[in-house]
Amino acid sequence: MARSKFKAEVLTPEGEVFNDEVEMVSTRTVTGSIGVLAHHAPLLAILEPTELRLYTSESDYTSFVQSEGYLQVADNEALLLVEDAIEPDKLDRSKFEGRLESARETLESAEEGSEERARCERDIKRFEAFLEAADNSGSPSS
């Protein structure tokens, strides 16, 4: 049975990347994976870097690699504010591999307990999630 649909919008600082009716939004918040269906209770959550899936039907979905952001569900509308949302096949692997490498190097030299260190850890987490998400979503519809 087809699920009822609701509006989902994905906004990044560089513009809107998705705005359509969906059946389910599947993503990950800091507390864990989450799937949002229609008529979800109002929710505000911090998103983690992961693969974002917007199911337009049971089997069809649009997929993005998302970085940190926020998810707001209200009035049967999901609004995702993410810093980056990249289509998996457009993700430049080598670029993120290089940046992951340099973030790791900086981490080595960063002082214990400094903000710089915390930031490197965040960066590493993000790049790793990007690469992982890009691997997982290699073949859509599977």
């Binding site: 906004l11 990044t12 600082p13 560089e14 513009g15 809107e16 918040t29 800091v30 507390t31 209770a41 109002p42 929710l43 505000l44 959550a45 911090i46 940190e68 926020y70 707001q72 209200a74 009035d75 609004l79 504010l81 810093e83 980056d84 002082e111 400094s114 903000e115 710089e116 915390a118 930031r119 960066d123």
Partner: protein
């Protein structure tokens, strides 16, 4: 007096320059349109973040004590971020930023504060290095089309320097975009962040978000608190939301600077093309005069020769 050939050479070289400047003008005009669009595209995101923050602040018991909100006890070291372009030939675009930075440096030194330099854009970087001021960090290669990632890198550098006590205040100097013809040098304090920035109700943004914003402020704020699920709790969300403002401010400054750069280049190149055609007119006149003088000269010589034979 210049010979006919000299003048003709000058005319053709001015014509070549004119071709280049008018091509650059057209390229700048096309890029300006794109840059304007990107400023527009940031707006929905920024205002959505703003609305969300306001809601979370209402739900949170108190705004958490974040290092970037705290003012340092004394201001000994100020970070100046100059936003310039990677390329020149854009009128006063780069030089007015560098001049403003220099002026600010003078003011700060009188107060006895050290200045640490940060710059985006090759022009700013090289000018600071040339003056031997010592550059903390330079960011280049993206001013034609800044990505959010670039803003994040800069914001991360500055906030971690601020949090770790390497800087006591951070100011940004950039070209604010008003119209293709006018840009103004803007100087803003980035850190410590002013709470007003994210708590303020922005009149114009409220108006524009009318349709969507109705559920936000219209009904009782206490109402939300009971109904909304926050993951994690509102204070934690604020801890993440507030630093985003620094990123967004920098990103907006980068975008406006890019639009200003293209606007300034377009204007500069247009007046260069105009000047070139004035110059061509003058030179053509000169060429005709030279040619006429040569003809007159020859006639006089012929007449004088005929006189002599008589």
């Amino acid at each position: 007096m210049a010979s006919q050939r000299d003048v003709k050479n000058r005319i053709s070289s001015v014509k070549n320059i004119q071709k280049i400047t008018s091509a650059m003008e057209m390229v700048a005009a096309a890029r300006l349109r794109k840059a304007e669009q990107r400023i527009e595209e940031l707006r929905p995101y920024a205002s959505a973040i703003r609305r969300m923050t306001r809601r979370v602040v209402e739900a949170a018991e108190h705004v958490p004590d974040l290092p970037i909100l705290e003012e340092h006890d004394s201001t000994d070291k100020v970070g100046l971020l100059l936003v310039t372009g990677d390329r020149g030939l854009a009128g006063a675009f780069n030089s007015q930023i560098i001049r403003a930075g220099n002026r600010r440096r003078g003011e700060l030194r009188e107060e006895g504060t050290d200045v640490l330099w940060y710059a985006s854009g090759r022009r700013g970087v090289s000018s600071i290095e040339f003056r031997g001021y010592g550059l903390e960090n330079g960011y280049t290669g993206f001013t034609d089309r800044p990505a959010y990632d670039d803003a994040r890198t800069i914001a991360d550098d500055l906030t971690s320097a601020y949090t770790d006590g390497k800087l006591d205040r951070v100011e940004i100097i950039y070209n604010g975009y008003i119209s293709p013809l006018t840009q103004e040098v803007r100087s803003e304090v980035l850190l410590p962040m002013q709470q007003i920035e994210f708590l303020a109700e922005e009149g114009d943004e409220e108006g524009e978000s009318d349709g969507e914003g109705k559920d936000d402020g219209a009904d009782d704020p206490g109402h939300h608190k009971t109904l909304w699920i926050y993951e994690p709790d509102p204070e934690e969300i604020l801890r993440r939301l507030i630093p985003d403002y620094v990123e967004i401010s920098i990103f907006r400054a980068l975008l406006e600077s890019t639009a200003s750069e293209h606007g300034a280049r377009m204007t500069a190149m247009r007046s260069a093309s105009d000047n070139a055609s004035d110059l061509i007119d003058d030179l053509t006149l000169e060429a005709n005069r030279v040619r006429q003088a040569e003809i007159t000269q020859e006639i006089m010589e012929v007449v004088a020769g005929a006189e002599g034979l008589r």
